[in-house]
């Protein structure tokens, strides 16, 4: 019995130990739970809310871009699309198979999707399909709601009603790049279907156009299924951007240019408003806003008319004779009187070299009054040499050349206004007098873009330091510009010269005479040489431009303003390899200006031009098709029969001595 008692005693002792252990654990549990729920409670409540409540972005609608009269240039249309976020996808093959059941995805689509997934970071959405119709979108919403990674989204696609005509000016939109997301860390940038400005005004003004995202508060399950909406904060659409552009005028100018590689700019001389800024040919920004087909992209890149370049702001051309306006003003400033003159016999000798006038036989006696209308080179050689390059360069800069303007453009070329200091810095050489001669007639180093020429014309027409603007400020207040500081008498002489270019019998642009009663156009032609004419060729007679390959023809330029009595509009026209300013560029400027005063008359001029262009396009298409077929047939031929495998001999056409104008931009 004592044995049993001892056992019981030992048991009791150990039972108390065990019970004590249990109590300790129980106390620990209570303590732990109190800690979690009372002391850390707030933190966990937050965590639970974070679990439960998800903020979903509502992408803002992109702001519209409208012209000066409120006509839309870029707007939005709803776009139902299906996007895929690789990060969230569990099984890509199964997911794509699922989509294929609902939508018609062909093999190429699947390849593209897989390629996109492979090259992009995992968090960037990949477009599966766009432009879905409503029934398909509704079906998707129901059927893929539980597939992780697939997101049907109602986005907005950008629409440019006028397409090509505004491509360079407005640019286009596109999906943000991973780099942009890493830089800006804006969650909008990885929102499926969200687009940002990629070029032109769309890119420059992206911030304002983008707007502010709204948020949708939803309650979601662990699998991301939405249970209900808890609240919304509306998105703030991007601001509507009002441009100084006149949509109708720009469309007219673009049509009037036909299939030329050209640029037209129209500026309001009083306000600096850019009414038109068109560069043709262009591309369709509507296509660029989605995905550019590889074939189209290749065609655009290979096209010798440079459809991807905004010639109005980025193209650089020797101003040619249009620069004589600058030389004239500089000469007046330097004290040359209008009655002083030269005898032009077509040649100007300097040392061992001879400079030529565009008129082989010469103009006879030329003074300042006839120098501009006749565009006599000898006159400007003489007085350019007399006043020196620095005086010319100073005047050029005063008139707005050689600089960039404050404009919302994706890029602007500054061009070059050369002087002694520039030459020394650039080439470590002193300025040569021959270079002054070239510069005086707008050749040689000097290089400008069409926008600068338009500004120059506006400044001469108004006498004020006009600055161009593209954005219409709220209220539309007209800016006040300082005077250029050029005596009115000097300007009057130049304006009269420009008037005579168009309206006198000796002028080089008689074809630009205004058809509108009571309105006179004043202008200046320019023909910028692309190749150098050798002495040899001169002896045998200079080849007519029309006989040369397109790439070697001269650029045609024309600057003008109207009406002459109280200048209102300045225009610059450049046709790449357009042969002659007076013959080809001036009529375009005339028609564009006519449109401002009498649209019906200007429109009537379009019909024959467009007929001609259409016929040419047709012919080109036919030739292209023929070439394609030949190429296809050749590819099928046995190699020993193929002629294209034997490289034809190549001839270096360009003269190695030809002065190559420096085209860097500093």
């Amino acid at each position: 019995m004592s044995n049993e008692a001892a056992r019981e005693q030992s048991f009791t002792r150990r039972a108390f130990v065990l019970g004590g252990g249990m109590a300790a654990v129980g106390a620990t549990l209570i303590g732990r739970m109190t800690w979690l729920s009372i002391f850390e409670g707030e933190r966990y409540q937050l965590a639970s809310e974070e679990n439960r409540v998800q903020l979903r972005l509502i992408p803002p609608r992109r702001g519209w871009i409208v012209d000066r009269n409120g006509k839309p240039l870029a707007l939005n249309k709803p776009d139902y699309r299906l996007e895929l976020i690789p990060e969230q996808v569990v099984d890509l093959d199964a997911t794509l198979a699922r989509v294929t059941k609902i939508l018609n995805l062909d093999f190429a689509d699947e390849l593209r999707i897989r390629a996109d997934i492979a090259i992009q970071p995992r968090y960037m959405p990949v477009e599966v399909a766009r432009d879905l119709d409503w029934p398909a979108f509704a079906a998707l919403n129901v059927q893929v709601a539980d597939v992780p990674g697939l997101q049907p989204v109602r986005a907005f696609a950008r629409v440019y009603p006028d397409g090509d005509q505004f491509a360079h000016l407005l640019g286009y939109v596109g999906a943000p790049t991973p780099e942009q997301y890493r830089e800006q860390k804006d969650p909008l940038l990885i929102f499926p279907g969200f687009r940002i400005g990629k070029d032109g005004i769309e890119r420059h003004e992206d911030k304002g156009l983008r707007g502010t995202a709204g948020a949708l508060k939803v309650e979601v399950t662990a699998r991301g299924k939405v249970i209900r909406e808890l609240g919304t904060r509306a998105d703030k659409p991007g601001e509507t951007l009002k441009l100084t552009i006149d949509r109708d005028l720009q469309n007219y100018a673009a049509r009037r240019l036909g299939d030329n590689s050209a640029s037209v700019i129209v500026i309001d001389c009083e306000t600096g408003d850019i009414l038109t800024m068109v560069s043709m040919p262009a591309y369709d920004p509507n296509l660029f806003s989605t995905r550019v087909p590889a074939k189209l992209w290749k065609e655009l890149q290979e096209n010798d008319h440079n459809p991807l370049l905004n010639k109005s702001a980025m193209g650089l051309y020797p101003p040619g004779s249009t620069f004589k306006l600058v030389t004239t003003l500089a000469a007046l400033e330097a004290g040359v009187t209008p009655d002083q003159g030269v005898i032009c016999n077509g040649r100007y000798r300097l040392g061992n070299n001879t400079w030529h006038c565009h008129s082989r036989r010469g103009h006879g006696h030329v003074d300042m009054h006839s120098a501009l209308p006749k565009s006599c080179d000898i006159y400007f050689y003489q007085y350019g040499r007399q006043i020196g390059i620095d005086a010319i360069a100073t005047m050029a800069r005063r008139l707005g050349l050689g600089q960039k303007y404050e404009l919302p453009l994706a890029g602007q070329a500054a061009g070059i206004v050369p002087d002694r200091a520039w030459k020394l810095k650039r080439y470590k050489k002193d300025w040569g007098i021959g270079e002054t001669l070239n510069s005086a007639i707008g050749q040689g180093y000097i290089i400008t873009n069409p926008l600068q020429l338009a500004v120059m014309t506006a400044r001469i027409a108004s006498g004020k330091a006009v600055m161009p603007r593209l954005m219409m400020p709220a209220g539309g207040a007209a800016p006040v510009f300082d005077s250029l500081g050029i005596p009115e008498a000097h300007l009057a002489i130049v304006r009269q010269g420009m008037f005579d270019v168009v309206n006198s019998g000796m002028g080089t642009a008689r074809g630009a005479r205004s058809p509108v009663g009571g309105i006179h156009i004043a202008g200046k032609t320019g023909t910028a040489q692309v190749r150098r004419i050798t002495a040899e060729e001169r002896r045998h007679g200079v080849k007519r431009n029309e006989a040369l390959p397109w790439k070697q023809r001269d650029h045609a330029l024309f600057v003008a303003f109207a009406p002459t009595e109280s200048p209102r509009y300045a225009v610059s026209v450049i046709i790449e390899h357009g042969i002659a300013g007076g013959k080809y560029a001036a009529p375009i400027a005339r028609d564009v200006l006519t449109y401002l005063f009498e649209p019906e008359r200007a429109l009537a001029a379009l019909a024959p031009i467009e007929r001609e262009v259409a016929a040419r396009r047709e012919e080109n298409a036919r030739l292209q098709a023929l070439a394609d077929t030949t190429q296809d047939q050749q590819a099928l031929m046995p190699s020993w029969l193929r002629t294209d495998l034997v490289a034809p001999p190549t001839f270096e056409i360009a003269d190695p001595d030809a002065p190559v104008p420096p085209r860097d931009d500093n």
């Binding site: 048991f11 065990l18 209570i30 409540q45 399950t221």
Partner: protein, 371 residues
């Protein structure tokens, strides 16, 4: 015969049952049903109704078991242990043949899980073993080896399934009985020291994924989307409940699927989210009452077998509770052990109610006159 049974001393026998503890058990089980009702999104389906019926049947079975004398269990201890061990072996062999791991033994009408019964059988067998071992012999080597073998055999078989939680539970039950039987303390101390010393060795033997599990337990935030997810979400559920919870049917962690296993292993978290600290205290304190009662029954019991049986089973119940709650509160790694009486599941509920029935049998015997 029938009339003798009907006219038997039912009222006297029933009056000897610990009705207050039965009331506590019903209170716990009932609360469990309320939680399951909410876990299903405010519906009797699929859990609450089934569990309720099960609870009612098993509660009756428990009362029936309580009427059986402890001496009967003493006589049947070896056979029961033998049969359950054979069952474990059978499950293992069946698994080998069918080429997969198996825990169930399908005997036609129901599926039995021998490992569940082993939790009870191990206590029964060891209590039987020490009942007839003379005092002072407990620590001798030739007395220790059979006891350790009794524990090791089923524990090893269950580990093979593999079911770490149940194996630990069986080992814990056996070791507690050895401790209570009077095995020298230094043995436990040195065993503990040896276990700690062996830890680096064990660590080096663990698979990478097992190491990862341990590391994740130590710091769940290192893997919030993977294995650490369960612990993190469970802690969020408990913590966000605050003092009095988000209210019945208002849990978000549970209803929006953030909480895994919300009706079984993590039901405490499901409860805590809606009932807060007060609900937790309710469960912990009621179980405390049951455990306290179990200890008191053991202390009052006559004879070593009954003492060891009552307290061994109480300790086993405690092990369930402690591991489950520590797991959901992030104090222990994730081991699949349900919360007794509350978690959804027939097998576990059956084990716990049989366990309580056995303790009640001891309690009833304590009240018998002449003992």
């Amino acid at each position: 015969m029938l009339s003798a049974l009907l006219n038997g001393p039912w009222r006297r026998e029933l009056s000897r049952l610990p009705w207050s503890i039965i009331a506590v058990i019903v209170a716990l089980g009932g609360f469990g049903l309320v939680i399951l009702y909410s876990a299903a999104g405010g519906s009797l389906d699929p859990w609450a109704l089934k569990q309720g019926i099960r609870f009612a049947i098993l509660l009756t079975a428990m009362l029936g078991l309580a009427l059986i004398k402890p001496d009967t269990w003493l006589r049947l201890a070896w056979p029961i242990y033998g049969v359950v061990l054979a069952g474990l072996l059978g499950v293992e062999l069946l698994g080998q043949i069918s080429g997969g791991s198996q825990r169930w033994l399908d005997i036609g009408i129901i599926q039995l899980q021998p490992s569940e019964f082993m939790k009870l059988a191990i206590v029964l067998a060891l209590a039987r073993y020490y009942q007839f071992l003379p005092r002072g012999y407990e620590t001798r080597l030739n007395a220790l080896i059979p006891a350790l073998a009794l524990i090791a055999a089923p524990a090893a078989l269950v580990m093979l399934q593999p079911d770490l939680g149940t194996a630990l539970s069986i080992t814990f039950g056996g070791v507690v009985v050895m401790f209570l039987a009077g095995v020298r303390l230094w043995l436990f101390v040195s065993a503990g020291v040896a276990a700690i010393a062996a830890m680096p060795l064990a660590w080096s033997m663990l698979h990478d994924y097992q190491r990862k599990r341990v590391l994740i337990f130590l710091d769940p935030s290192t893997d919030p989307r993977g294995a650490g997810y369960h612990i993190t979400q469970s802690k969020i559920a408990i913590g966000s409940g605050g003092l009095d919870g988000k209210g019945f049917l208002n849990g978000t962690q549970s209803h929006l699927d953030y909480l895994p296993e919300l009706q079984t292993d993590f039901i405490f978290a499901t409860m805590a989210e809606e009932w807060g600290l007060l609900g937790g205290l309710y469960i912990i304190l009621l179980f405390g009452v049951v455990l306290f009662w179990g200890i008191r029954v053991a202390l009052q019991a006559k004879g070593q077998f009954q003492r060891l049986l009552a307290l061994g089973l109480t300790a086993t119940l405690f092990f369930y509770l402690a591991i489950n709650m520590m797991m959901v509160m992030g104090l222990a790694p994730v081991v699949g052990i349900p919360l007794p009486l509350i978690s959804y599941g027939g097998s576990a509920m059956m084990t716990v109610l049989i366990l309580l029935g056995l303790i009640m049998g001891v309690a009833r015997h304590n009240k018998m006159p002449g003992n």
